[in-house]
């Protein structure tokens, strides 16, 4: 599985290089905007905070693009010619799928670290009122609750992607279709699973109202609206979604091993 991850990373090196160079250039551009603002010390905090928020938006876009590429390359492998290479390997379906999930985790970690670097760079050159943020940034990034929140989000994203992989694989294998019918089925399966999980999640949240997670990721960001008060995060529906992700992983691996139709 690790060998497959290594090979897929090698295939994406150009994409990663271009993506990270672009993000680095955007960070520097935002930093120059901050430097420009330093000439006006009365710059309002909201305007100054807009710069790192724009940067955060760029990182979210970067991650969204990488996620879409993950799905597209997997679909291409199932429907296109390169699938003969990947699915012809003496590897179990779980290993092939596991390599995709690992790639997604690597993308997430890369985005997280890249985003943190951008924030640190911008914090160092923050002007005016935004300068007040500077002492808090380091402590915020080291907050345990912040990382618990990140792990939770990662688990939900991985589960979501596994459900997407399941939909694509289901469409290609069980329908026994060579092309278009499989794609339509894939989309329908994904929509059906996500809609059902949303309904089930809502029901579970109503049933287990008292079950939630109290986290305080913004403990060291007193200037934010949330302040030092712990925030309540849903617990039951994300757990249900992760369980669904695990089931989707098992089902997809089984389909790859027993019902492959390239």
């Amino acid at each position: 599985m690790w060998k497959l991850v290594r090979y897929q990373l090698r295939g994406r090196r150009l994409l990663y290089n271009n993506g990270l160079i672009t993000m680095g250039a955007l960070t520097l551009y935002q930093a120059t905007r901050f430097i420009g603002m330093q000439e006006n010390p009365a710059q309002s905090a909201p305007v100054s905070m807009g710069v790192p928020l724009t940067m955060a938006f760029f990182w979210v876009m970067f991650y969204a693009v990488m996620t879409v590429i993950n799905i597209v390359t997997y679909t291409q492998d199932l429907y296109g010619d390169t699938g003969y290479l990947v699915f012809g390997l003496p590897l179990r379906g779980a290993e092939v799928l596991g390599s995709r999930i690992l790639l997604l985790v690597i993308d997430t970690i890369m985005t997280l670290l890249g985003g943190m670097t951008s924030v640190l760079v911008l914090a160092c050159v923050a002007p005016g009122l935004a300068e007040q943020v500077r002492p808090y940034v380091g402590r915020f990034l080291l907050t345990g609750d912040y990382w618990v929140m990140c792990l939770g989000v990662l688990a939900v994203i991985v589960s979501f992607m596994t459900i997407m992989f399941f939909g694509v694989t289901f469409g290609k294998t069980l329908t026994n279709s060579k092309k278009h019918l499989g794609s339509v089925f894939s989309a329908l399966v994904v929509i059906a699973v996500l809609w059902s999980s949303a309904q089930l999640g809502l029901k579970l949240e109503t049933t287990f109202q008292g079950w939630h997670l109290s986290l305080n990721p913004w403990r060291y960001m007193p200037f934010l609206g949330a302040g030092t008060q712990p925030a309540r995060f849903p617990l039951v529906s994300p757990l249900m979604f992760v369980t669904l992700g695990v089931l989707a992983f098992a089902a997809t691996s089984w389909l790859m091993d027993h019902k492959l139709n390239l």
């Binding site: 060998k3 010619d81 699938g83 290479l85 012809g88 003496p90 329908t175 091993d257 027993h258 390239l262």
Partner: protein
């Protein structure tokens, strides 16, 4: 002599087509089988099933006593009829990839085959001509010391000289402990290598047997029999 491939009542159905219907045959160890038939006769589907890339609808398939799966993928060297290599890879990287995943991949043999094909390891797959990609793919497939070679139209993009080189390499490297199944439209060029022949039409076996026996019984070459069976000139 043991049978390396045993197929009984193999059927493969897609949504509205039957690609293979009740196909039954065996392939002995050390034999080369020619898989012949017009376009859409089910050759590629049969080969994909042997490569573990398509699951059968019904019937049994055994390769060296095992149903197609992870274990057989390790011992079957499959050459699809399309370029399955990533364009970003160099020829050498493709070799590394095969070496990483297939324990039977022989690096020395790969280098020898590249030299015969006049390819170098640093050439990018994306920058090669169709014929050169074909040579690179054949080098990868034959560099494996597999039990079964499954080649789907292996000579499609090759010029006559390259075809002759590939055939020489194929024969020189063929071992008696392995078997080979080749589908081709260039029957005249390769029929001399066939020990057995299987004619498919619309997913059914229409004629099968030992090549020499068929030639004697029908009084013609395999290409002549092909014309006779399918009733039109399909060969090149």
């Amino acid at each position: 002599m043991t049978d390396l491939i045993r197929i009984d009542g193999l059927t493969k159905k897609y949504v509205n087509t039957t690609a293979l219907s009740d196909v039954t045959f065996n392939l002995a160890e050390g034999h080369i089988m020619g898989l012949l038939g017009p376009n859409g006769s089910g050759k590629t589907t049969l080969m994909k099933i042997l490569a573990g890339l398509v699951s059968p609808t019904s019937g049994t398939v055994f390769i060296d006593g095992l149903a197609p799966g992870v274990e057989t993928k390790a011992s079957v060297s499959f050459l699809p009829d399309v370029n399955h290599l990533d364009r970003w890879m160099s020829v050498g990287e493709a070799g590394n990839f095969y070496a990483d995943f297939y324990t039977d991949f022989d690096r020395k043999r790969f280098d020898e085959l590249l030299a015969i094909m006049r390819l170098t390891a640093d050439q990018k797959i994306g920058s090669l001509s169709k014929g050169m990609v074909e040579k690179a793919r054949l080098s990868l497939v034959f560099a494996r010391r597999a039990r079964l070679y499954v080649l789907d139209e292996p000579f499609g993009g090759l010029d006559p000289l390259a075809r002759s080189q590939v055939l020489d390499a194929l024969v020189a490297n063929f071992r008696t402990d392995c078997s080979m199944m080749v589908s081709t439209q260039m029957v005249a060029d390769v029929e001399r290598f066939f020990d057995d022949v299987l004619f498919l039409d619309r997913g059914r076996v229409v004629l099968a047997g030992e090549a020499e026996d068929l030639r004697t019984r029908r009084g013609g070459s395999i290409e002549d029999i092909y014309r006779e069976v399918y009733g039109h000139v399909e060969t090149r």
